[in-house]
Structure formats: C-alpha cells, structure tokens
C-alpha cells in the first residue's frame, strides 16, 4: 500500500528517512511521498533521503529554529499556528495515488509529541483517506518529563487518528549501548516491521501471485475501527534450492513433495507463534485484540495456504477475535517471515504504567514549582520586610 509519510519532530523525521532508505534498498515502493516537519533546523538538515523541498521548518518566529525543548504544549501551539506551512508541502502530494497518511513522531519530546495530534486532526478534516499515526514511546530511563509528554500526547493522538500504531522504545532498549547507535538499530527494526506489513499491500496484480495475496484494503480494514495497534514479527532463513533434491532421488517425487509441504506448513505456523508471542512493537496481552492481520512473506515455493490458514486459526483462538485476516506477500529472497498486526488491543500494562508515572511526574512538577516559588520568595524577601522595591 502506498503511503504519504509525515515525520514530525526529530524521531519522526529520522524514521521517515529510514523508510525512504528501505524503499530504495529493497524496491518496496511504499512511500509515495515523504515530508519532515520540525521546529529545529539542525534536525531537518541531518536527514539524508527526504527531499529538501519536503522539509518544513515551523515556529521560526517563536523558537528561531532551535526546537521547543521538550515542551509539547508549545509544540502543539506552534503546529496550530503554522499548519498552513505544513499544508503547503502536503499540497504537493498526489493524494489520489496514496492509500493512507502515516504521521510518525516520538511522543516523549516536544515538537512531534505536541504537533502530530494537531496535524492528524487537520488532515482528517480535509481528506477522506485514512490517517494513521505511528507513535514512539520513550524509554523508561528517559525521565519524568518525557513520560508525561508521552502520556498526554498518546491520549490525544489516539483520539485524532484512525488508528495509532505504537512502538515502545522501552521494550527495545538494549543495555550498554550508546543511545545513538541504539536508535539506529531500533529504527531498522521499526522500518522492517512496518515495511513488510505495508509492503504486503504493494504487490501488483499480475505479479505472478495467487489470490491469497494481502492487499491494501485488508490492511485498511484491519486498522479500521480505530484504537491502538501493535505488530509482532519473526523471520528465518530458508535454503534457496530445494532441500528435497536428494530425497526425491531415492523416494518417488510424491513423498518428497509431501514432506517438503509439511515442512513449509510447520515453519509458517511456528513463525506465526513466535511473531505473536515474541516481542511486540508495543508489548501487550494479545487476547482481546479486536482485529488481526497475518502476513506471511517469502519465496512463493516456501509459502503455502495451509500454513497461513493454520496460523490464522491459531491467532483467532489466541485473540478470541472473529476478524483475523491472513494472506501472503511473495518476495524473492532466501527468508521467510511472519508479521502479525494486532489492532484494537486493550490490555496494555505498559500504557497504564506510563500514565501512572506521568501522574506522579505531574504532581512532582507542581510540587517543585510551588516549592521553588516559596524558596525564591524566602531568598529575595528580607527578614522583616523592611526593604522597599525600587519600583
């Protein structure tokens, strides 16, 4: 499926940049248009693949190109004031050629956190195409203000988009790694997961494919109904040449084929389990998910309907959902992968924890502010209030 991607803030911009790189590297063609919006000039200059004319600097009058310093209320205000400048870039998107908008932002900072819900609201008012969000939650070690920003932005963003896909940095953080190097790897993981998922809808008719191929409408229908989504993924290498070669020389072809087929089925079902039960982009209980989509990708001879059907059934049992779609995404490379999109998840302890920490942070901040006002008063005012101010 073809997307117009808008990266808001630094994290959003970097991830859109990465999507473009992935598109170029693999020929996937999921990014029809890419735009980066930021209040920080340096962040925009650091991008490699987003075309210059699609880099939009907003809030220049207020923050002079230096970012909003994790103040997401200011981020939201600036987005509202300068929405016309963002729209100017969006005007160049051939909207009739896209299937959806995807707004990407780190929810812990200021610009993307505050601006992305504002942009979502704006786009939904103007266009009929679905508007999805990809929100990045901060790592647990980033501190209270980031958590507070994320909790507030999350609430608003979910309300404004047609579906919010979530990626939790906290679940993917590796200890002992430099933050920058860490983000590089994390961003690759993000792009691969969502790339395979959205790429699935990009197989054109006549591409030598069976009817079981996933198309854009199935992705859209899985995301329709709103709420919060998470993605599971697992891949493994397969041999490019038929491993049944030797066997078939001794046995008759039928047996070897059957064996090969059984292997293919088992591989797919095991990949589906590992994808759904392994690390999700947003860790949560998969039971109770409202809708799901299974995409199995790999060389056509390593895909079979039976495996996908079994995987799909298993997801139905695990989620309790009656709306589990499944299909394949044929690709010529020696790997087989399962991507599982779980849409409308409810049981997400991580969000409750985020909100809890945010509430504490909010209280702390209020308290500290109160205290510091009192302390300042104490310092400035003389003991017996005998001095008069100058004016």
């Amino acid at each position: 499926m073809k997307l117009a991607m808008i990266g808001f803030g630094q994290a959003g911009g970097k991830i859109v940049d990465r999507f473009l790189k992935y598109d170029h590297r693999t020929g996937s063609g999921i990014v029809r248009s890419a735009i980066a919006v930021n209040t920080a000039k340096a962040d925009l200059m650091g991008l490699e693949h987003v075309p210059q004319e699609n880099r939009v600097l907003i809030g220049q009058a207020r923050v002079k190109g230096h970012g909003v310093g994790a103040d997401n209320e200011l981020g939201a205000e600036i987005a509202e004031e300068d929405i016309d400048e963002v729209q100017g870039a969006i005007d160049n998107i051939p909207v009739h050629e896209i299937d959806a908008f995807l707004i990407i932002a780190g929810l812990g900072g200021g610009t993307g956190s505050g601006g992305s819900p504002v942009l979502a609201k704006h786009l939904k008012r103007i266009y009929t195409e679905p508007v999805y969000g990809l929100g990045i939650l901060p790592g647990g070690d980033e501190g209270g203000i980031y958590t507070l920003n994320a909790a507030r932005s999350f609430q608003t963003f979910v309300r404004e988009v047609d579906n919010l896909l979530v990626f939790d940095n906290d679940a993917w953080r590796k200890t002992g790694e430099s933050v920058e190097g860490g983000y590089d790897q994390i961003n690759d993981e993000i792009v691969r997961r969502f790339g395979v998922l959205f790429g699935a809808g990009e197989v054109e008719a006549g591409d030598n494919v069976a009817e079981s191929v996933v198309d854009s409408s199935e992705i859209i229908n899985t995301l329709a109904g709103g709420g919060v989504s998470t993605v599971g993924y697992d891949a493994e290498a397969v041999e490019e040449h038929n491993s049944g070669g030797l066997l078939s020389r001794f046995k008759d072809g039928g047996d070897a084929d059957e064996l090969e087929n059984a292997n293919t089925t088992n591989r797919i079902t095991s990949l589906v389990r590992k994808a759904a039960l392994g690390r999700l982009t947003l860790p949560c209980e998969i039971e109770g998910a409202e809708r799901a989509l299974l995409v199995v990708s790999g060389p056509p001879k390593h895909l079979n309907r039976k495996g996908i059907e079994r995987g799909r059934k298993w997801l139905e049992e695990q989620t309790g959902s009656m709306e589990v779609r499944g299909g394949d995404y044929p690709i010529n490379e020696p790997n087989v992968a399962a991507a599982v999109l779980l849409s409308g998840v409810h049981n997400v302890p991580r969000i409750k924890e985020l909100q809890q920490v945010a509430i504490e942070a909010q209280e702390n901040i209020d308290e500290i502010q109160q205290e510091s006002e009192e302390n300042l008063e104490d310092l400035v005012e003389d003991e017996g209030d005998e001095l008069d101010p100058l004016f």
Partner: protein, 253 residues
C-alpha cells in the same frame, strides 16, 4: 545486454517447415507469419499466418482448424484457397473445417485485436512479458491440440510507464557496465520494475546512472592527474562502500 535489443526485434520471420525425414519428400505443413512488434497495451495489432500443405502427413484429409489468442476483442478471418487461388471455404470466427476434397492448398488466418493487459513484469526476461498473438490448434476427438509445436506466435508488450522505466534501466545498465559501479542501485531498480513500481524504478535507474557516471568522471580525472596513489585508496574505499552497500537488499531479515 544484447538480448534486450534482440527482444525489440523479436518479430522475426517465422518460416517453419517440419520435414519428414523418413520419407525424404517435401510433404510438410508450413507456416508463414510474422509476430507484431512490441506494442503498448490497449493498442490494436494484427497479424496474418499463411498455412501451406495443410494435409501433409500426419494430418488427416479432413480436420478443423481452430485459432486461439490473448488479444482482446479479436476479429478472425480464416480463408481456404485451392491451387487457382479461388476461395473454397471461409470463416469469420476462429474455426474453419478443412477438407482435402475441396482441393485446399493454402489457408490464411488473419487476426486483429487489442493488446491485452495483465503483464507479469520481468526486466531481465522480457519474454515473460509476452502475450499470445495466435496459436493454431487442431480439433480431434480427444480435444484440441496445437497443430505442430511451433504453431504459436507471441509478441512483447508494455505500458507507457513500464516502457519508460525499462528504457531508464537499459540506459543505466550501459553506464553501470562501463563504470563498473552503481550495480546495487541498478539491482534495486530492476527489483522495483519487476514489482511494477515504475516511478521508483526510473528514479533508482537514474540513481544508478549518476552513481556510475560520477565514478567514471572521478576515475578519468584522477588518471589525468596521474594521482595513482589516490586512485588506489579510492578503489579500496569504493570497494568497501560497495561491500557495505551490497550487504543487504533483503526486506525480511
């Protein structure tokens, strides 16, 4: 790359003779027909096949000729003539019964129709993009079978977008071959082409070309300057970058 060009002249004259070696005599059915040139989807094309010796062994003295095609809205004209060139049988459908008693010595099959869509894009194997212009079949009690193996004519087709992308890749491929650089981008362009993402394919082909031409220019400049040391370093660095880039074009892992 020579096959790319030859694909454009695929429309070679097909003059087929199936000689019967056992008898050594010249009794063989013959076909004379020329596939249309590579054509854009939706355009009208036509072709004609002339059949001579329609009752040569092993064909029976009476049989029904049936034509098959992938052309859309096809119009058929099949005409059988005797040795004075008089028409002895004719059909405006895709079928005509041929009878040796009518002294039929030649049959012309004319077909006209629109080039069909539904291309399986394959840059490196343009034949996979072909469609069937005409196939000549013989009805038997057991069903229909091709008159002889060779009695089928295919032609290449394209869409405006696919042709543009193919041309861009052709050009880039020449540049990449000369410069021995830009191969990665070229592979990706081909990949995109095969996935029918033609805008992307053209962009990537342009990338490949500029990367190839860039490296070509650099090389020439350095040679002129005689800065061989730098050249060695550059080649080493280039190989490293190439290796790094080549590392992975996979989507899944």
């Amino acid at each position: 790359m020579s096959w790319i060009r030859s694909s454009k002249t695929v429309a070679a004259v097909a003059l087929l003779a199936i000689a019967l070696l056992a008898t050594g005599t010249v009794t063989a059915i013959e076909f004379d027909g020329e596939s249309p040139e590579s054509t854009q989807v939706g355009e009208e094309v036509s072709m004609e096949v002339e059949i001579t010796e329609p009752f040569a062994d092993p064909l029976p003295s009476q049989w029904t000729l049936e034509g098959d095609t992938e052309l859309e809205n096809a119009d058929w004209t099949i005409v059988a003539r005797d040795n004075t060139d008089d028409i002895v049988a004719r059909s405006d459908t895709n079928e005509l019964q041929l009878n040796a008693d009518d002294s039929v010595v030649s049959v012309t099959v004319e077909i006209r129709g629109e080039v069909p869509d539904g291309i399986e894009f394959d840059y490196e194997n343009p034949d996979a993009e072909n469609y069937k212009v005409v196939e000549l079949l013989r009805q038997t009690d057991a069903g229909t079978e091709r008159v002889v193996d060779e009695a089928i004519w295919e032609a290449h087709r394209y869409t405006a977008e696919s042709q543009e992308a193919r041309t861009a890749i052709d050009e880039a491929a020449d540049a990449v071959e000369q410069a021995n650089s830009g191969g990665d981008e070229l592979d990706n362009a081909i990949n995109a082409y095969n996935n029918a993402n033609f805008d992307l394919a053209s962009d990537l082909a342009d990338d490949a070309q500029s990367s190839a031409e860039g490296s070509q220019q650099t090389t020439q400049f350095l040679l002129i300057g005689g800065a061989l040391v730098v050249l060695v370093a550059l080649v080493g660095g280039g190989a490293y970058v190439y290796k790094q880039r080549q590392k992975n074009t996979n989507k899944l892992r």
